[in-house]
């Protein structure tokens, strides 16, 4: 209690230093939160695509329905395929019209004849997509095969890059925060050098002198982390309508409140470690 009283006094007597420390901590945790949102979101997007393995085979115009049916039943018999759906030229036109209903010019130019019919095939395992795709490519009635392995691979590469950039940014900002807190607490220790000396002379132990400074570091960390979390969560909440529109059909938003509370918990633990460590380093450096 006494330490907290002294800490409170130290902070109130130099509010600008306190604000600087809290702002840098807030920035650090803002970046931590945003990168965690990005990483969690992109992982969900990857999982979404991974959970929907799909190959689309477009048929040549001259393909006969009987050949298509034969191909379809061959695929079903392979045991790898979970679902096969035939999309006729008419179905393709309907999809095209739905996608471009706001652009009458595009609708006028297209008829069912110029759109290819296709098969949409889902496999049980993502690893089987290549084999199915190869089978389809060898078929004389198939003009083009696209499958989402490429999408997943690209997304995975992006997520991995994002993780690296995130980790590097968090590391740099954490180091900046630590150095700033060391400097601020170092200044405070220098300002109070005389008082610290007197306390020692009247019987204060080293830890009696150190604790208020360590609490101060922890306070900066916790307040900064909480502020960063509030801003990032509020931004995510505000962006949810846009994101749900942008990521149509991919269940990334809204983010569950439980996830946000877990994030807060982890960030507060990080803040205690970061603030406490920085203050402890300052105390070791300036209070010998």
């Amino acid at each position: 209690m006494k330490f907290i009283k002294t800490t409170n006094q130290n902070i109130r007597r130099s509010p600008y230093q306190a604000i600087a420390a809290i702002v840098i901590m807030m920035l650090t945790f803002l970046v931590v939160s945003f990168f965690i949102f990005l990483i969690a979101g992109s992982s969900k997007i990857v999982s979404y695509f991974e959970s929907k393995p799909q190959v689309t085979a477009f048929f040549k115009n001259e393909a006969k329905q009987s050949d298509i049916d034969a191909l379809q039943s061959n695929l079903k018999d392979s045991g790898k395929v979970s679902n096969v759906k035939f999309v006729s030229k008419q179905d393709a036109l309907a999809i095209y019209k739905e996608q471009n209903k706001n652009d009458p010019l595009l609708l006028d130019l297209v008829t069912a004849d110029i759109l290819p019919s296709s098969l949409e095939i889902s496999t049980y395992k993502i690893g089987d997509l290549s084999a199915v795709s190869e089978t389809l490519k060898t078929s004389p009635i198939v003009s083009e095969v696209i499958f989402q392995k490429d999408v997943v691979a690209t997304l995975t590469a992006w997520t991995s890059a994002l993780r690296k950039i995130g980790a590097a940014s968090i590391l740099i900002l954490s180091l900046v925060s630590i150095f700033l807190i060391i400097t601020i607490i170092g200044i405070k220790i220098s300002q109070k050098r005389q008082d610290i000396h007197i306390m020692g002379l009247i019987g204060a132990t080293n830890w009696y002198i150190r604790w208020p400074f360590i609490f101060e570091g922890i306070f900066y960390g916790v307040v900064g982390a909480f502020a960063g979390w509030v801003i990032s969560s509020a931004s995510l909440w505000a962006a949810t309508p846009f994101l749900s529109n942008f990521l149509r059909g991919i269940p990334v938003v809204p983010v569950s409140p439980l996830f946000l509370l877990e994030l807060l918990f982890v960030e507060l633990i990080m803040a205690v470690i970061l603030g406490g460590l920085a203050a402890y380093l300052a105390v070791l450096r300036y209070l010998k």
């Binding site: 008082d195 007197i198 306390m199 002379l201 009247i202 019987g203 204060a204 132990t205 009696y208």
Partner: protein, 227 residues
């Protein structure tokens, strides 16, 4: 209670502050430590509270051998030895009450009991009416009394007073002196460093005189007849 045996202290600058010093102070004794500036009076106090170690010899305070005392035990020693510093070393941003409360807080005493103890000590030194004032609002004599009160807060066995009457007018000096004698009567061993020969010659107490770090006189009963 306090035993200096062949104690010498040489600083890094080469200055020899104390040289082969031998004396002991018994429980309940009142000792004047006299000598010109630089004679080693304050160095003796700093050695007693373990601020630094002697270059040679041994110092025993109660049952503690200062040279063998681990660093973590120094705060414990300092709680047993109250010091009235020459420059008082009061906290200007704390009230009289808070200044006196500090040693009790440092000792982790229970808060209500601590407040009661501060009130007792302030009463003892006549500072109760000034309890909520800050040091800048007090006179020289009052500041000395705050320093005495703080040094007494933990009821130390030993009280070291470094020039407690320096820069005070004669009447205030005698007031401080009488308070110290009262404290000594209640069982606290006191060593008082002073230049005030008016006080030394009028109070029949032991005098230890130093010059350039050497003990030049140790009179078991100084006072009136002695110079």
């Amino acid at each position: 209670m306090i035993k200096f045996q062949n104690v010498s202290k040489k600083f890094g600058t080469g200055t020899e502050a104390l040289s082969d010093l031998n004396f002991s102070v018994e429980k309940d004794e009142f000792v004047f430590l006299v000598g010109p500036t630089g004679s080693g009076k304050t160095t003796i106090f700093r050695l007693i509270i373990g601020e630094f170690s002697p270059t040679g010899g041994s110092i025993v305070i109660n049952d503690w051998d200062i040279l063998k005392l681990p660093r973590e035990k120094i705060p414990e020693l300092r709680k047993k030895v109250g010091v009235i510093f020459q420059d008082l070393k009061l906290f200007n941003d704390r009230t009289v009450f808070e200044n006196v409360l500090l040693p009790l807080e440092i000792d982790n005493r229970e808060i209500e009991g601590s407040k009661k103890r501060v009130e007792e000590v302030l009463e003892e030194v006549g500072l109760t009416p000034h309890r909520d004032k800050f040091p800048v609002q007090l006179s020289g004599g009052e500041l000395q009394r705050v320093a005495i009160a703080r040094a007494l807060a933990l009821s130390p066995d030993i009280l070291l007073a470094d020039e407690p009457t320096g820069n005070l007018d004669p009447a205030t000096s005698w007031d401080i002196m009488n308070r110290l004698l009262e404290i000594n009567k209640k069982g606290t061993t006191i060593i008082m460093a002073t230049h005030n020969f008016d006080i030394v010659k009028n109070i029949p107490k032991r005098i230890i005189a130093l010059d350039k770090g050497h003990l030049v006189r140790d009179e078991k009963s100084g006072g009136r007849s002695k110079k």
